[in-house]
C-alpha cells in the first residue's frame, strides 16, 4: 500500500468526520492507501506542509486561500471543496437592534483577519457602506469578548463558535447576519494536493478522492457512529459539542452543489466571483487561471452513487 498522509487544518473534531470515518472503515485501505491523519493547530500552515511534500494531502483553508497560496508560488491544486457555502455568519445580540449590515454603522464589529475580513468588506460594499462607517476590530479564537459584550458584532462559524454561544444559553438571544444573504459566498475546507504528486501519482489521488467521499457519505448517514470514531481519535473531546458540530457541518456539506452535484464538488463560478472580490480589495494582485488552481477531474471520476445522497 502507498503510504500517504493527510494534514488537517485543526485538531481532530467532527469537522473532519468524513476522513476519520473513511479511515476507520478501511476505505483508504481498499484503495491501496495507507493513510495517516495528522491534526493541525494554530500557526501550523497546511499549505506549506503539503506544498513541501511533508504531507501528501491537506484539508486547508477556504477557496480564497488556495488562490493566495498559489500566488505566493506554492505549487498546490485543490481537488475538492467540503463546505459548499460560507461556513460562518456575523452575530449580534437581539437587544442591540442590529438585524442587517446597514445597522453595523457606528458599531464595533469584530472579524477574523484570516481572510474572513474580505467577506465583511464585500458585505459592507453590497450594502453600500464604507469600512470607515464602523469600527472593525480583530477577533481571536475565543468568543469571550463577544459574550462579555466588548463587541457589538462578531463572526462565528455555524459548526463551532455558534454552538459555543448556544451552549452558553445565548442561542435565542442572537441575530445572525449571514454573508450568503448579501451574495457573498466563500466556500471552505479545501482538499489540497501538490502539483507534483497529482502529476506523478494520479491513481493514488483518485483513490484518496473516492475513499474520502465515501467516508463523508457514510459519516453523514451514520452520524452516531461517526462521532464514536471521532471521539476514539481524540477521547478528551466533548461529545455534545461534537454532535452539534456534525449536525451543523452536515448542512454546510450538503448546501448548494453538495446536494445537486455531490459531496466535495467544486463550485467554480462562485470561486470566480469570490476571486473578483479579492482582486478588488488588492488581496490578490490579479485574477489567476482557475483551471490550474482547481482540478475537478478526480471528483468527476467518482461514481455518482458514492457522492450523492
Amino acid at each position: 500500500a502507498e503510504k500517504v498522509s493527510l494534514r488537517l487544518k485543526w485538531l481532530a473534531q467532527a469537522q473532519f468526520a468524513g476522513f476519520y470515518v473513511a479511515k476507520a472503515k478501511g476505505f483508504y485501505d481498499q484503495g491501496g492507501l495507507d493513510l495517516t491523519i495528522n491534526p493541525g493547530g494554530p500557526n501550523l500552515n497546511v499549505e506549506t506542509l503539503v506544498a513541501s511534500g511533508n504531507d501528501t494531502f491537506g484539508l486547508a483553508g477556504g477557496t480564497e486561500t488556495v488562490l493566495l497560496a498559489r500566488e505566493k508560488g506554492l505549487p498546490l491544486v485543490c481537488i475538492g471543496v467540503t463546505v459548499q457555502t460560507t461556513p460562518f455568519t456575523y452575530v449580534a445580540y437581539k437587544d442591540s437592534g442590529i438585524t442587517q449590515v446597514k445597522d453595523f454603522a457606528g458599531k464595533k464589529v469584530a472579524t477574523w483577519f484570516t481572510g474572513t475580513q474580505y467577506t465583511l468588506y464585500s458585505m459592507l460594499a453590497s450594502a453600500g457602506m464604507k469600512q470607515g462607517d464602523l469600527t472593525i476590530v480583530p477577533q481571536s479564537g475565543s468568543m469571550a469578548p463577544f459574550v462579555e459584550k466588548q463587541f457589538d458584532v462578531a463572526a462565528a462559524t455555524y459548526y463551532n463558535e455558534l454552538n459555543v454561544l448556544k451552549a452558553q444559553g445565548l442561542g435565542d438571544r442572537l441575530t445572525l447576519i449571514k454573508p450568503d444573504d448579501y451574495g457573498v459566498i466563500v466556500q471552505q475546507d479545501t482538499v489540497l494536493v501538490s502539483e507534483k504528486y497529482r502529476n506523478e501519482k494520479p491513481q493514488q489521488v483518485q483513490a484518496f478522492m473516492n475513499a474520502t467521499i465515501k467516508g463523508w457519505k457514510y459519516a453523514l448517514q451514520n452520524k452516531k457512529e461517526a462521532i464514536d470514531i471521532v471521539m476514539a481519535a481524540s477521547p478528551s473531546l466533548n461529545r455534545a459539542h461534537q454532535e452539534a458540530m456534525l449536525d451543523e457541518f452536515e448542512k454546510l456539506v450538503k448546501a448548494g452543489k453538495g446536494t445537486t452535484d455531490g459531496i466535495l464538488a467544486i463550485d467554480l463560478p462562485t470561486v470566480e466571483k469570490m476571486q473578483a472580490q479579492l482582486v478588488g480589495y488588492k488581496a490578490l494582485k490579479a485574477p489567476a487561471d482557475l483551471s490550474k488552481a482547481y482540478d475537478p477531474s478526480f471528483w468527476t471520476q467518482v461514481p455518482a452513487t458514492d457522492k450523492k445522497f
Binding site: 494554530p42 500557526n43 500552515n45 499549505e47 506549506t48 506544498a51 513541501s52 483553508g61 486561500t65 493566495l68 497560496a69 505566493k72 508560488g73 506554492l74 477574523w112 483577519f113 484570516t114 481572510g115 476590530v137 480583530p138 481571536s140 479564537g141 475565543s142 469571550a144 469578548p145 462579555e148 466588548q150 488581496a283
Partner: protein, 252 residues
C-alpha cells in the same frame, strides 16, 4: 599593525563573523538543498519585504515593544519586591514559593484566554502575561542571590543595629546583583516572545497578531519579516541591557 590588533581585540569581530557564518549557512542551505521559498525564504527576500512593508511592521513592533517593555519593567520590579518580601518572611516563602512555582508552570498560553477575559484584548493583558513570565524568573534568581550573602556579614550588619531592610539594601542586594542581572538577561527575549504569543491569541495590534494572521493567509514573507523585526528589536533591547550592565560593574 596597531589598527589590526585593535580590530581583532574588539568584541564586535566575533559577533560579526558568526553572523556572517549564520547567513552563509542559511543562504547556502537554500541553494544546496533547493529549499523552496515557502519553507525557508532567502534572507534577502525577507529584508526586502520588511522594507516594502515598513509602515505595518513598525506599527506592529511599536505595539509589541510597548507591551514587552511594560511587562518586563513591571515583572522585574515585582519579582524583586516579592523576593525581598519572601526573604524577610520565611513562613510566607514556604507558602508563596510553591504557589508561584505552580502558577509559573502553567504555560503562558494557557493563561492567555483568562487574561484576555480579565484584562481585555488590549495591551494590558499582554503586559500582565509578560510581567508574570519575567517576574518569576526574577523571583527565583533574586531570592537565590539575596540568600547568597555570607551569614557572618549579615551578623555584622545586625551588630550595627541594622534592621532587615537595611541589611537587604546594603548587603543582600549588592550580593544579589549578579543574579538579578542574570534574570534581567534571561527576561529580555522572554518578554518579547510572551508578548508575541499573547498577541497571537488575541490582540488589536502587534507582531504576534501579524504573524498569526499572515500565517493563515499564507503570506509567509510577512511572517518571516515580522519575526526578523522581533529578533532585531530583542537584540537591541538585550544589547542596551548588556551595555548598562557593563557600565554598572562597580561591584565586581
Amino acid at each position: 599593525m596597531v589598527a589590526k590588533r585593535k580590530l581583532s581585540a574588539s568584541p564586535v569581530v566575533p559577533v560579526v563573523l558568526s553572523v556572517i557564518v549564520l547567513l552563509a549557512v542559511w543562504e547556502g542551505a537554500i541553494l544546496l538543498f533547493r529549499i523552496p521559498p515557502f519553507v525557508l525564504p532567502s534572507l534577502g527576500a525577507i529584508v526586502q519585504h520588511a522594507f516594502t512593508d515598513t509602515g505595518r511592521l513598525m506599527a506592529a513592533l511599536l505595539a509589541t515593544l510597548g507591551e514587552a517593555l511594560g511587562g518586563y519593567a513591571l515583572g522585574s520590579v515585582l519579582g524583586l519586591l516579592v523576593a525581598v518580601v519572601l526573604l524577610l518572611a520565611p513562613p510566607l516563602e514556604r507558602v508563596v514559593m510553591p504557589l508561584a512555582v505552580a502558577v509559573n508552570a502553567v504555560p503562558t498560553v494557557a493563561y492567555a484566554p483568562l487574561f484576555l477575559i480579565w484584562f481585555g484584548l488590549g495591551a494590558a493583558s499582554k503586559i500582565a502575561l509578560v510581567a508574570l513570565a519575567v517576574g518569576f524568573t526574577m523571583l527565583v534568581n533574586a531570592l537565590h542571590g539575596l540568600k547568597q550573602a555570607d551569614l557572618a556579614a549579615v551578623n555584622l550588619m545586625r551588630s550595627f543595629g541594622a534592621g532587615p531592610l537595611k541589611i537587604v539594601w546594603r548587603l543582600r542586594l549588592p550580593v544579589a546583583m549578579p543574579s538579578v542581572v542574570t534574570a534581567l538577561r534571561i527576561g529580555v527575549p522572554r518578554s518579547m516572545i510572551v508578548a508575541i504569543v499573547g498577541e497571537m491569541l488575541g490582540a488589536y495590534a502587534g507582531l504576534g497578531r501579524m504573524i498569526y494572521e499572515s500565517t493563515q493567509q499564507v503570506d509567509l514573507l510577512s511572517v518571516w519579516s515580522a519575526v526578523l523585526v522581533a529578533s532585531v528589536a530583542s537584540m537591541v533591547f538585550y544589547g542596551v541591557l548588556v551595555w548598562i550592565d557593563q557600565k554598572l560593574v562597580w561591584w565586581r
